[in-house]
């Protein structure tokens, strides 16, 4: 099977290039395994990967134009030649490895931790199954970055617009019945950029390998902001 992969090593290359590889496919082969096979052929080829089962979020790449998690992408679903590039819009460090600093910074910006102000009980803080259900579709995010790096608003304003991943995380805490910092969270999200640069293009929803819906979460945040403003 034919693969065309993005290559760039700042020590030896003046500019990026595409390199072709042939990989012997096997039944059930995932893109990650194909990339590992390419690395066997040329050990200088660099990409991040770890768990191999779609939970660590290391191996997000751009495949045939769309962001995907390599370890859960069967190559049988890909058209040849399979064109593999790094995430768009991020500075390339080497080959498929991009600098995700900005992405992590935006995540930290939303205070991604539970804030509970009342004195804590000796046991667990109670939460009804219905309230707990509100976290489904939010807490499962693996921070792979497929969503934010496919979002045109994040491409244009990565420093000001928080991006779908961070906003999904923001809603995860706003939606948690145990969290008691709703006012502060909303006031910090206020302004023209942080939330409102989302133009519901919905690339994030399309690419999320975990089937999550950041656009919907952003909608919830906006509704809550409106409700609070009135």
């Amino acid at each position: 099977m034919k693969f065309r992969v993005f290559r760039y090593n700042p020590e030896t290359d003046n500019s990026p290039r595409m390199q072709d590889f042939d990989v012997e496919p096997f039944r059930g082969m995932m893109l990650r395994e194909a990339l590992m096979e390419i690395k066997k052929q040329d050990e200088s080829f660099a990409f991040r990967h770890s768990c191999g089962e779609g939970v660590c979020g290391s191996d997000g790449v751009n495949v045939n134009g769309g962001n995907k998690l390599a370890c859960i992408t069967p190559i049988s679903e890909l058209k040849e030649p399979v064109v593999v590039r790094p995430f768009p819009g991020r500075p390339v460090i080497r080959d498929l490895i991009v600098d995700m600093t900005q992405f992590y910074r935006q995540y930290k910006e939303i205070k991604p931790w539970l804030i509970h102000k009342d004195p804590l009980p000796d046991q667990e803080v109670l939460q009804s199954p219905t309230d707990r259900d509100k976290l489904d579709g939010l807490y499962e995010c693996i921070m792979c970055g497929c969503c934010s790096t496919s979002c045109p608003s994040f491409w244009w304003n990565p420093d000001k617009f928080l991006g779908p991943q961070a906003l999904l995380a923001a809603w995860r805490f706003l939606a948690d019945s145990r969290d008691q910092a709703t006012e502060e969270r909303l006031s910090e999200l206020d302004g023209h950029y942080k939330v409102y640069r989302c133009h519901t293009i919905m690339n994030c929803v399309e690419v999320c390998p975990k089937g999550l819906n950041p656009t919907k979460a952003i909608g919830h945040i906006r509704n809550l902001m409106l409700k609070n403003a009135i």
Binding site: N9, P10, E11, T12, G28, K39, K40, E43, S44, A46, F47, R48, H49, S50, C51, G52, E53, G54, V55, C56, G57, S58, I72, P74, I93, R94, D95, I97, M100, Y104, K108, K111, P112, W113, L114, H116, L120, D122, Q123, E124, V125, L126, Q127, S128, P129, D131, R132, L135, Y139, E140, I142, M143, D176, R178
Partner: protein, 587 residues
Amino acid sequence: MALVRRKFDALIIGAGGAGLNAALQLANADMQVAVVSKVFPTRSHTVAAQGGVNAALANVLPDNWHWHMFDTVKGSDYLGDQDAIEFMCQEAIPTVYELEHDGVPFSRIDNGKIYQRAFGGQSQNFGGDQAARTCAAADRTGHAILHTLYQQNVRAKTHFFDEFFAVDLLRDDDGYILGALVLEIETGEPILIEAKATLLATGGCGQVFRTTSNAHINTGDGMAMALRVGIPLQDMEFFQFHPTGIAGKGMLITEGVRGEGGYLVNKNGERFMERYAPRAKDLASRDVVSRAIVTEVREGRGCGPNADYVLLKLDHLGEEIISKRLPGIRESSKIFAGVDPIKEPIPVYPTAHYVMGGIPTDRWGRVVVPVGQGPEEVVPGLYAAGECACVSVHGANRLGGNSLLDILVFGRSAGKDIIQFLADYRHHRPMKEVALEQAMARLTRWEQPGSGPSVAELRAEFRKSMEDHAGVFRTEEFMQEGVEKLEEIRNRLSQVRLKDRSRVFNTARIEALELENMIDVGMSIAVSALYRKESRGAHSRPDYPKRDDANWLKHSLYSREGDRMDFKPVRIKPLTVPSFPPKDRVY
């Protein structure tokens, strides 16, 4: 260029559950703490833990920590240290509540308390009815816990060195650990991190086997670092093969599937676990279930065209339970096995999963080593916690749900002990430059030009040898052959050369360093396994089929120098309750 040197109170190597829970204690106490991780913290393999964490909260069925302790001692095939086990089972309860307060999105039961499910080897009342002790966030508990701990560390302003690879520990002539040499992966620059206390929390080493549930990063780095500064590894012959890996692939299908009511069948549709464990059936201990599956396949009752797996059936649970409690499993089965478990059973076979052994520690996470003929002593400035450590709470076989518990309890305990240690230990000791040069030599070795076998070639051969010779069933002759093969592979390692010696994000160099670590750790497994002439827990020898308490109720210690074996007694005496004396282990 001069080597960059940084100083911290504490250095934590590894950012999984153990490392992050320790870091959180330290950062909350305003200590200067550095966490070095070769991957961004939320990529650590704790993220993959599915089923849950054990604590006798008694939310679903009656329970108490003493029953949990009994099950753990029995599960360990009486090789676990009972003082450490008592400590862990007591601490489990406040530890889980603390995690919940930190924000872990546990699943809930109707009264709002944490959901708990049944898991293997759990009982009420010292071997009675099945217990429900495993606190779960659906089947993504590790993910929920790891992300929460990372979030809390961000709040507490822990200093992270993301994507830095730890090369070697630095130890002075008085035996003190002074910190570590680390490599910034992005730039290829080495950095010296000096610390008054260093915690190894580098996780497991499942990558030494070809088929494993473990991630690419689980290469036993911390264990190998300990070996290289003269610290032995304890009980390395005890490696857990999880019964239900996806056949031919190795990805894990949680024991929680059987906890929710799923069961195993052979090609005749027979629920074969009834023959091997009449009472606990599919929820017998992992070692028991793995051996049963391998036996079924060897005796020709496997399923599929090659009769090389069994089936895990759960369609009878119904779509609602599966979607609610096991959503991740459904997803994984569809992706990797091509089956939807709502309709079809999942093909499964044992997969290398967890090392019970590791760096010997006490229950405060302090690394302890034997000194001459006397009692063991603490290695000053060195701690270990989590899968890389051996406290020992798992003995010869770990119970499901006790792994997340181990990393959380002992990560926390180590963090708290380091705070006390730092109170008495105010200054950094002078760096031993010779030790630093030796650590640097480990890096420069890979600068050698020329040609030789590739890292990938030797790695593939090594992992296959481990799988062939140190698997579920182990006989003398076969293991002897395995050790010889490993010796030969270890010798050939010096001929391996990197073609790519560039600096920026050179993953080939990292994989070379990892291969060195894996070979050291693999050797410790093979040599320890050959040495122990009995069957106990996960260590199963057809030539010595019985447990032999008279000769082998003791911990093994493997030292890298001369591949030497040594032993130390099991701590049978608990802290406050009477001992559980060794008994026949039936489920």
